[in-house]
């Protein structure tokens, strides 16, 4: 009689497929996963504690460093929360610029998702292509605010500066080229049989379970739950745009991949619409020099590329937040990892991690 036992394998924190410093403690029976316990905190900076000793405006740059591949969304969520508690009205042009920037950022973020998924599954060309196209978007952000990653572009009452003259032609060129780029990726990846078989029916999460475990964003919609905050609780001026929310049926890795590919197309559509309708005018409301929201509290959330990004701010009327909590979608989405991986192979853990698309800057806060 052969005696067998499970063994423990540490994947990460220094592992190329964990997308940052995430450790997954795998309990394996041969090559089959029995448990996959995520272990985080390697990037914890105590941002929520730091917020309590910073003024409201000083906290904006910290939001850039949460989900550092979709910083525009982080800026937007935070600024809208403070605007909500203070009752600030944002000028029209700034609202449109915010939409253009956050939707471009969604495309950039999903391109990183696509690239890292490809390289995690062994297709390094896919990563090069993803990063190549993202570069075009980063150049646009560079024009608008001088930064490629940590923008702090969206401020209380509007945006930091109007776009320069060369921005719109460059954006139009990008929007013209983008459908062809997307087509190329579909031919390269979506039509790839190996990718299909690695992703199809891997890590299936049912709709009911997805809601219970707190998934949001593309990971939730892949399971067929229609929850996109841009639609259910439109913030800013999202109610003016015509776009659809792609939904999956099975909730497997393949759905999570195809949904993000489709979302990029929808985002490009929104940017085109916003560009056509954007009025002239100021980009900044008159906001007091010292921001002192009235005592009270507010929870506000937006649809970030990774899910529901929420800010909960408690103000006591002072210049610093009394308490600031960030609801990070990556952090809560990671809870599903263990049950999604059980019974699968190590190679599938990589695929599931990549399609959940958690980002450690946000998980650890």
């Amino acid at each position: 009689m052969l005696k067998t036992e499970t063994f423990t394998l540490n994947m990460g924190p220094q592992h190329p497929s964990t997308h940052g410093v995430l450790q997954v403690v795998l309990e394996l029976d041969g090559e089959t996963v029995v448990q996959a316990i995520p272990n985080m905190g390697y990037l914890h900076r105590g941002i929520e504690k730091l917020a309590e000793s910073r003024t409201y405006a000083q906290f904006i740059p910290y939001t850039d460093r949460l989900d550092y591949v979709s910083s525009m969304g982080n800026n937007l969520g935070y600024c809208q929360t403070v605007e909500k508690i203070m009752g600030i009205k944002v000028p029209e042009r700034a609202e449109y610029l915010r939409i253009i920037m956050t939707e471009l950022n969604r495309i950039a973020s999903h391109l990183i998702f696509m690239g890292s998924l490809a390289i995690d599954l062994g297709a390094s060309t896919g990563m090069m292509f993803g990063f190549r196209s993202r570069e075009r978007i980063l150049d646009l952000f560079d024009m608008a605010c001088g930064a490629r990653q940590t923008y702090t572009y969206i401020r209380f009452g509007g945006v930091s500066a109007d776009i320069p003259a060369e921005f719109i032609p460059a954006l139009e060129r990008f929007l013209t080229d983008f459908p062809a780029m997307l087509d190329e990726y579909h031919r390269l990846l979506t039509g790839n049989e190996i990718l299909y078989h690695r992703l199809k029916n891997t890590g299936v999460i049912s709709a009911q379970r997805a809601v219970e475990i707190g998934l949001t964003g593309p990971a939730l919609r892949a399971s067929g739950v229609d929850y996109d905050i841009r639609k259910v609780e439109p913030y800013g001026i999202y109610d003016r745009f015509d776009f659809s929310v792609p939904l999956g049926q099975v909730g497997d890795c393949w759905d999570r991949y195809t949904i993000r590919m489709e979302e990029m197309k929808q985002s490009a559509d929104i940017v085109t619409q916003a560009l056509n309708e954007m009025p002239e005018g100021t980009v900044m409301a008159s906001v007091p020099k010292v921001v002192k929201p009235p005592a009270g509290e507010v929870y506000h959330s937006i649809e970030n590329p990774r899910g529901e990004l929420g800010y909960y701010i408690v103000s006591n009327g002072g210049t610093n937040p009394y308490r600031l909590h960030v609801r990070r979608p990556s952090f809560i989405n990671l809870q599903v990892l263990n049950e999604a991986c059980q019974g699968l192979l190590i190679g599938d853990v990589v695929a599931i991690l990549a399609t959940l698309d958690s980002l450690m800057g946000e998980v650890d806060c």
């Binding site: 905190g41 914890h44 000793s53 219970e212 909960y312 609801r327 809560i332």
Partner: protein
């Protein structure tokens, strides 16, 4: 769900739990303050009741108010697109709140985070240990009495 429905829900809960519940916000800002001992009951009711179905725990966090710590639950009803806030308070001498993990498994990591950073113990949690800080960390940094300057690293002895 209309604002009238949500106000009906609030009055219904108030009639059932009397002194254990306080309405602190209405309509779009519907909010309840409940006693910790009836928290699982009320959360379970809000989740399973056919008329309301608050089936999503969006956010769970806590705030230190020096005399007490307030645990905040932001719930959302996917079918009716309605939000509600539930709060509960526990005194500094007895920082215990029943865990919501049996109602929403999504509370798991969030309760661990609150335990880690504020020191609230969630009774009935399946795996209550630190999540962001290292296990041997001393104290709970998001408490108002915790000052960052006393968190100094222990002196590192040179190896050479």
């Amino acid at each position: 769900m209309s604002n009238r429905d949500i106000n009906n829900l609030l009055t219904e809960l108030k009639a059932r739990y009397l002194e254990d519940i306080k309405i602190i916000g209405e309509e779009a800002q519907a909010a309840l303050l409940v006693e910790p001992h009836c928290l699982p009951d009320i959360l379970g009711f809000l989740k399973t009741n056919e008329l309301y179905q608050f089936n999503m725990l969006r956010n769970l966090t806590a705030v230190d108010y020096l005399e007490y710590i307030e645990v905040v639950y932001h719930l959302y009803s996917l079918p009716f697109r309605q939000a509600i806030t539930v709060k509960t308070r526990c005194g500094m001498e007895d920082l215990q709140v029943p865990s919501a993990t049996t109602i929403w498994p999504s509370a798991n990591f969030q309760e661990r985070e609150v335990y880690d950073l504020l020191g609230v113990r969630f009774t009935g949690h399946p795996d209550l240990r630190r999540i962001l800080l290292r296990d041997e960390f001393d104290g709970h940094p998001l408490r108002k009495t915790y000052h960052t300057d006393n968190a100094g690293e222990k002196e590192v002895k040179s190896l050479c």
